[in-house]
Symmetry: C2
Subunit: 314 residues, 2 copies
C-alpha cells in the first residue's frame, strides 16, 4: 500500500503542480497545506461533501470520469449556493481493490478537468484502502465580507426562485437503473455530469434584493424544508410554475435529488432577469409566515407538501 500510495501521491502532485494558485504557500507533499491569509475585505468559505459507493453511487452506472467530476461538483455546488468563488480543494479517498490504474486515471481526469474549468487547485488530501470507494472533498473559497448567501435569511413575503430545470437527475438515474440509455441521453448527462451554478451564485450574492439561497442536492421538498426551517418561515409552491425537466414527473421535480440547481428567495418587488448566464430563473412560489410547506396544485387545490427527500441510490 505505502509505495503505491507514494506513487499515486506523486502522480496527483505532478498534475496539481501545473495549476496556478495565488495564495498557496505549500500544497501536496506535506500533511498540511499552507495558505496566505485572505485580504481583510474577504471571508473564507469551507465545505465538505462525502460520497460513498453504494449510498451515493453504483460503479456499474457511474463511469470513473463522471464520478471524478461529480465528487468535485458536489462540493462546488455548496459553495455556489453561497455566492463563493472556489479556490482550493482537498480530497480524501478510500480505494477498494477493484480500482484499476485506468479507472483511477479517468477518475482524476474528470476531477482535474472540472478543477481547471472552475479555477480550483488541489492542495492536499489523504489516501486509504478499504472495501467501499469513498471520497470526501473539501472545497475552500472566498467571498466579499458579509456577502455570502445563507439558507437562514428568507423573509415572509419573499419570492421563491429556482434556476434551470428540476427532476432531470432523478429521471436520468431511473433510466440508468432500469435500462440501457444512450450516454448522450440528456437526463443521464444531467445525472452524471452536473454543473455547479457558480456564476449564478456569485451574481445573486451581489444582488442586494436576494435574501436566502441553497443548492438542490437532496430534492426540492427536503431542501426547501431546510431553508424554511433555518429561516423560521413557511413556503407555498405552485405546481403549475415548476420548471420540470422534459420527461420527468412531478415527483422527480419535487423529490428527486442531485439537480444541483440553486433555490433562492428575494424581496417580493424584485424581478431578477429571466436568466443569469445561460441559466433560466423561474418564480415558483412565496415565503409565508407559518412554518408549513404548501403545494398549490395545477387545479388550484392546496395540500401539504410532503418532505420526502432523496434516498440516494439504495
Amino acid at each position: 500500500l505505502k509505495n503505491k500510495e507514494l506513487f499515486l501521491v506523486d502522480k496527483i502532485r505532478q498534475r496539481a503542480k501545473k495549476q496556478l494558485s495565488p495564495g498557496l504557500r505549500l500544497g501536496i507533499g506535506d500533511d498540511t497545506a499552507i495558505l496566505s491569509a485572505l485580504p481583510p475585505t474577504q471571508e473564507l468559505l469551507i465545505t465538505t461533501d462525502l460520497l460513498v459507493e453504494g449510498a451515493h453511487f453504483e460503479r456499474r452506472w457511474h463511469p470513473p470520469r463522471a464520478l471524478g467530476h461529480k465528487v468535485l461538483a458536489r462540493g462546488l455546488s455548496d459553495l455556489a449556493a453561497m455566492g463563493g468563488r472556489p479556490r482550493w480543494a482537498l480530497l480524501s479517498l478510500c480505494l477498494p481493490a477493484w480500482v484499476t490504474p485506468a479507472w483511477k486515471k479517468h477518475f482524476f481526469n474528470g476531477l482535474f478537468d472540472l478543477a481547471g474549468k472552475t479555477g480550483v487547485a488541489l492542495i492536499g488530501g489523504d489516501l486509504a484502502r478499504g472495501e467501499r470507494f469513498t471520497a470526501d472533498i473539501v472545497v475552500l473559497g472566498e467571498c466579499r465580507r458579509g456577502r455570502a448567501l445563507r439558507r437562514s435569511a428568507a423573509k415572509t413575503g419573499d419570492s421563491i426562485y429556482v434556476s434551470g430545470l428540476l427532476g432531470g437527475s432523478a429521471l436520468g438515474l431511473e433510466r440508468l437503473r432500469t435500462g440501457r440509455p444512450r450516454p448522450s441521453d440528456p437526463a443521464v448527462q444531467r445525472h452524471l455530469l452536473p454543473t455547479p451554478r457558480l456564476a449564478l451564485g456569485q451574481y445573486l450574492s451581489r444582488h442586494p434584493g436576494v435574501h436566502a439561497a441553497l443548492d438542490l442536492s437532496d430534492g426540492l421538498s427536503l431542501d426547501l424544508f431546510r431553508l424554511t426551517r433555518e429561516s423560521g418561515v413557511g413556503a407555498e409552491i405552485r405546481v403549475a410554475d415548476l420548471p420540470v425537466f422534459p420527461g420527468a414527473t412531478l415527483d422527480h421535480a419535487l423529490h428527486g435529488g442531485e439537480d444541483y440547481e440553486l433555490l433562492f428567495t428575494s424581496r417580493p418587488g424584485l424581478r431578477p432577469p429571466p436568466s443569469a448566464g445561460a441559466v433560466p430563473l423561474t418564480l415558483i412560489g412565496v415565503i409565508t409566515s407559518g412554518q408549513k410547506l404548501v403545494l398549490v396544485g395545477a387545479d388550484g387545490r392546496r395540500r401539504n407538501l410532503p418532505v420526502k427527500g432523496f434516498e440516494h441510490d439504495l
Copy 2:
C-alpha cells in the same frame, strides 16, 4: 435517513454552539462554513485525515470514545508537526447500521472533549450511511507567516530528534489483538488515546535552529523516509539512542505506527532542552548528504534501514 440525519446534526450543532470561536461567522447549519480572514501576519493551515473501519481500526478493540478522540487527534497531530495552532474542524462521517445512539454519544464525547482541550470548534461536516464506519476529519489552524515547519527543510549535518517514546502504540495494538489487556495498560492507552504534540510543535516552530518536522503516524522508518525524500537528503539513526517504549521491541520502535510523536531536525550545534513541556526530546541520529537511510546497530555495525511502514490493522 434524512430525519435521523437532521436529528443528529441538531444534536451536534447544539454541542458545537457552546464552543466559542473568534473568527467564525457561520458554523453548522448551512452547507458551508464562513470564517473571517486571518490577520495578514498569519497563515492558514489545513489538513485532512481519513479513518476507515477495517483499515485503520477494528471496532471490537476500539471503544467509541477512544475512536472519537483518535479521529480528531490524528488531524491535530498533522497540524502539531507544523507548529500550528488548531482553530476549527469539519467532520465527514459514514455511519453503518451497527452504530447505536449510545455508540454515537460516546464517539462525540471523545471528540468534543479533545476539541475543548485543544481550542478547536467543530464548524461543519457531512453525514452518510454505508457499510463501513468512515471518518474524514478536516483541521484548520494558523501560524505566523513563514513559520510553519515543513518536512522538506532538513539539511545535511542536522541533528535528528524525536519526542517521547517510540513503539508504544504498536505494542498496545498487538496486546489488543492477541489478548485481553487491562484498559489501563500504558501501551494500550498509548494506542487508544494518542496525544497530539501541539505545544511542542509550537515551541519548535518558534525555535530558529529547528529545520524540518513531521509527525510519526506511520512508523519511524517510513516517516523518516518521507522527510529525507522531500528534503533530498539521507539519514543515519543509532539503535542505542532510540527511546523505546517499555516492553516494545526495536521493530515496534522502527516500524510501528500511530505514536504521533514529532520527528524533527535542527542545526548541529543546537541543543534543545532535554524536554519541552512534559515531553522528553531525544537525539537519535544525523542527516547525511546521500539519500540512503542507515541504521547503526548497538554493536556499531551499519546496515540499510528497511522502510516497512505501518500496514494498519489489516
